[in-house]
Every structure is written in structure tokens, then in C-alpha cells.
């Protein structure tokens, strides 16, 4: 039942996103503003997770919304949800900007999340729904698996860097990563199931 409601909400939301997006393409500034308002905090928080750099996060967001507005990046609704698309664009933009600055943040350093907030993720239903389950699912991974996911996805490291950091032969990185991600997916299903039962 719960899953059904969630599905429905997600569906309604992405339809509205599509509506905003289409109006934005026609040059409607209010629609871009609406998209901005909806995703500002998620994208900002996401980039900070990727880079732990506040000034960079603002730069990344600016670049993302320029890409959106000037249609250098185009959303195709047949290929998935708008939210997935905009976080993907944000991730690549962040990786790009981080790389171009060559400010190699030491991988050993624990990323501390500054000015962390209370629980409320009021802005975005999808975030609210998913955040705690994903965090729980990530917590259930072994340290090694969490590390490989972190290096690959959040730090955007190359295969050879991951091999070095995790002390793995180059050829095994992909297999380990896929295993970790599948494990994560399984955890996610269990966590969700747990909530449903409760």
C-alpha cells in the first residue's frame, strides 16, 4: 500500500517537473525559478557531499542551471525521471569543475558535512522519502564496500585510483563495485520492507 502511494506521488511530481521544463524551454523564467526552488537544496547538498566545498557548490549550481536554461543539456522524458536527470547533470558538472580546479581533496580525509541540518527535508518529497532508507542501506554495507561506492560515485575516481585506494588489482575493481552496488540495492529493499512492515 505504502509503495503504491509512493509511486503515485513520484509520478505526479515528475509530471509537474516536465511541465516546468517544457515551459522553461519556451523561455519562461518563472518555470526555471520553480525548478530551481524545488531542487536547490538537494543539488547544493549533493555537491557538498561530492566536494565538501561550499563555494564550489554554488559555482556548480550556477553552471547546471546555465546548462538547463541555455539548453546545453537537454532532458528527454522518455529516458527517465527529471530528478534523476538533473542530479546526473549536477554530478558530471561537479566532477568536471573539481577536476579543472585540480584541488585534489585528500581521499584519506573524512568528508565532514558542515552545518548539517535537522531531519526536515521538506522541499522535495522524493528526497524525504528516500534519504533515510538509502542512508540505512549504505550503513549496512561493509566498510570496504562503502569505500568503493564512495570513491566511484561520490568522488568520481578512475578505476586505477580506486584500485590503489582499495588495494585491489585493477581488473577486480569493476566486479567489486558491482557487487557492492547490488548489495546496496538488496539492503534498500530490506530497509523499505522493514518500513512497510512497521
Amino acid at each position: 500500500m505504502m509503495a503504491l502511494i509512493t509511486e503515485k506521488k513520484g509520478c505526479v511530481m515528475s509530471n509537474r517537473d516536465l511541465e516546468y521544463y517544457q515551459k522553461m524551454i519556451e523561455g519562461d523564467k518563472q518555470s526555471l525559478e520553480a525548478i530551481y526552488d524545488k531542487y536547490e537544496k538537494l543539488l547544493y547538498s549533493f555537491v557538498i557531499k561530492l566536494s565538501s566545498d561550499h563555494s564550489l557548490a554554488e559555482e556548480v549550481l550556477q553552471e547546471v542551471f546555465i546548462k538547463l536554461w541555455t539548453q546545453k543539456a537537454k532532458y528527454d522524458n522518455t529516458k527517465g525521471k527529471f530528478s534523476s536527470w538533473i542530479v546526473t547533470i549536477t554530478r558530471y558538472t561537479a566532477i568536471d569543475i573539481i577536476r579543472s580546479k585540480k584541488e585534489s581533496v585528500s581521499l584519506e580525509e573524512e568528508t565532514d558535512v558542515p552545518e548539517e541540518q535537522s531531519e526536515s527535508v521538506e522541499d522535495l518529497v522524493e528526497w524525504k522519502e528516500k534519504s533515510s532508507t538509502i542512508r540505512k542501506a549504505l550503513d549496512q554495507l561493509s566498510d570496504e564496500q562503502r569505500k568503493i561506492v564512495d570513491l566511484f560515485y561520490f568522488k568520481g575516481c578512475s578505476q586505477s585510483v580506486i584500485a590503489k585506494e582499495c588495494d585491489l588489482p585493477l581488473g577486480t575493481v569493476k566486479g567489486r563495485l558491482r557487487l557492492a552496488l547490488k548489495h546496496l540495492r538488496k539492503n534498500l529493499a530490506t530497509v523499505k520492507g522493514g518500513i512497510r512492515d512497521a
Partner: protein, 258 residues
């Protein structure tokens, strides 16, 4: 490295341009790799939502959207004959700042009245102040050191702290009007600052610009676009609802006789 080993580096955009092209050709024929990439996408899809909420800093929305819409402005305007030039930090022509401010002439009062007749209250939907700054697309034309300054004036206005100086420069047989302004009020929506040259009562467009977040703006305008036989009596800056005004629609904020 075999092509199939490059899936992760392709996903993370770590390949060089050449490698990327090669891998994309490989993708066309390798279903396994396509599936792996798709799988990586779907498996990582939810990860951004694990981010701990962090409050964006004060004013970020205005800055970001300001820059976004400014980007559009500059792109649009670069299609046109005149440039809308947000002021770069380091403009050449610094010498024009050393001018003594001339005394205000009677002409000024006349000018303000004359243009006031053409004024229409100008307010369009408030969107965002343009912040300009780093997002500059077009650069002011480079000016050679052999340029000769023919005339230089300071522009003043009654109801604004803004100041500007303008200079007419002879460059390779052409006349260039350069103008720098500071302490400008932020603009709203599509508003721009428009420079006018006046021949008698007749205003001619002489460059459009926006202010950056420090309230600075500048323009370099080739006067070859104007009828060469005319004598110019005055230079003025007005705030216009957009960059299309053929005559002053908005308030004249600064002016000087020539």
C-alpha cells in the same frame, strides 16, 4: 586496457576525447558494456538522495539565477550589432578615471528636461538583478595603446550616486565611444543601461550595458554606426526596460554635454 575494461572510466568521464570516441564505437557493438553502464546508472540512481541536507547560503538563488539570465542576455545580444558588456574586473583604459570632474553646465538641465518628455514609467516583471561579473561572454574591443583621446567628459545625475566617464577615442581612423560607470543601481528583469548621443534633441543609441554586482558597467561603442556628419551635443545614460528601445523610454540617470 581492453575496451570492456573502460566501463567505469567511461561512466566517470575519465577517458580522453579519443578514448571516449573509441569506447562509444565499441558500445555500439558490445551489448554487455551497454548493459553494464545501464546497470551502473540504475544502481546509483538513488545515491544523491543520501545527501545530508545543507542550507544554501544567503542570496544564492539571486546570484545563481542572476548569472543564468545574464548568460542569456549576453548570448542574445551578441547576435545584435551592439554589445551588452558586463564590466570585467580589469578594463583597459584606466587612464580615463583620472579625469577631473568638469563643472556642470547649463546644458545639463536642458538635457534632463528634454529627455524627461520622452519618459515612460518603466517597470517590467521583477525577476533578478543581473550580477554579470564572471559570466561575460563578449569582451570589450581591445584598444591599442596608440589610440588618441579626442574628448573626455564626466556624466552626472541629480538623483543618483552613480557616476560615469565617457571618452571619444580615435582608433585606426574610426571613432570609438567608451564609457565607464560606477555605483549603478541594480537592474531588474530585462532592464539595461542605454547610452545615448544627442544631436540637438535627437537621441541616437550608442551602446547598451548591464551593471555587475559591484554596480559597475562599461561600454565600448563604434561611432562608425552613426551618421558621421552630425555633431554631438551631449551624452546620456538612461535605464531602459530592455535593450530594444530606439528612443529613451526610461529615466535618464546621468548626462553630460559635449
Amino acid at each position: 586496457m581492453r575496451e570492456c575494461e573502460k566501463v567505469l572510466d567511461y561512466f566517470n568521464d575519465e577517458l580522453s576525447e579519443g578514448e571516449k570516441e573509441q569506447f562509444e564505437r565499441h558500445l555500439e557493438s558490445c551489448e554487455d558494456c551497454r548493459e553494464e553502464i545501464e546497470e551502473l546508472r540504475s544502481l546509483t540512481d538513488d545515491l544523491p538522495f543520501s545527501s545530508e541536507p545543507v542550507d544554501p547560503p544567503e542570496g544564492m538563488k539571486d546570484r545563481v539565477l542572476g548569472a543564468v539570465f545574464a548568460e542569456e542576455e549576453t548570448e542574445e545580444k551578441s547576435q545584435e550589432e551592439e554589445n551588452v558588456v558586463p564590466l570585467e574586473q580589469h578594463l583597459e583604459q584606466d587612464s580615463s578615471r583620472e579625469v577631473d570632474r568638469p563643472t556642470r553646465s547649463n546644458r545639463q538641465a536642458w538635457l534632463m528636461r528634454g529627455l524627461a518628455a520622452a519618459l515612460v514609467a518603466s517597470l517590467v516583471g521583477n525577476v533578478f538583478a543581473l550580477t554579470g561579473g564572471e559570466e561575460t561572454v563578449s569582451e570589450p574591443p581591445a584598444v591599442e595603446s596608440t589610440d588618441q583621446v579626442n574628448q573626455r567628459v564626466s556624466l552626472e545625475g541629480e538623483s543618483t550616486p552613480a557616476r560615469a566617464s565617457a571618452a571619444m577615442i580615435r582608433q585606426n581612423g574610426s571613432q570609438l565611444l567608451t564609457l565607464q560607470a560606477e555605483q549603478l543601481e541594480p537592474l531588474q528583469g530585462d532592464e539595461v543601461y542605454q547610452v545615448w548621443l544627442l544631436n540637438g534633441d535627437e537621441p541616437y543609441r550608442a551602446g547598451t550595458f548591464v551593471a555587475n554586482q559591484n554596480g559597475e558597467g562599461a561600454v565600448a561603442f563604434s561611432m562608425d554606426q552613426l551618421p558621421s556628419e552630425l555633431d554631438w551635443d551631449a551624452v546620456a545614460i538612461s535605464k531602459e526596460p530592455n535593450a530594444q528601445s530606439q528612443t529613451p523610454q526610461g529615466e535618464v540617470i546621468l548626462s553630460s554635454s559635449l
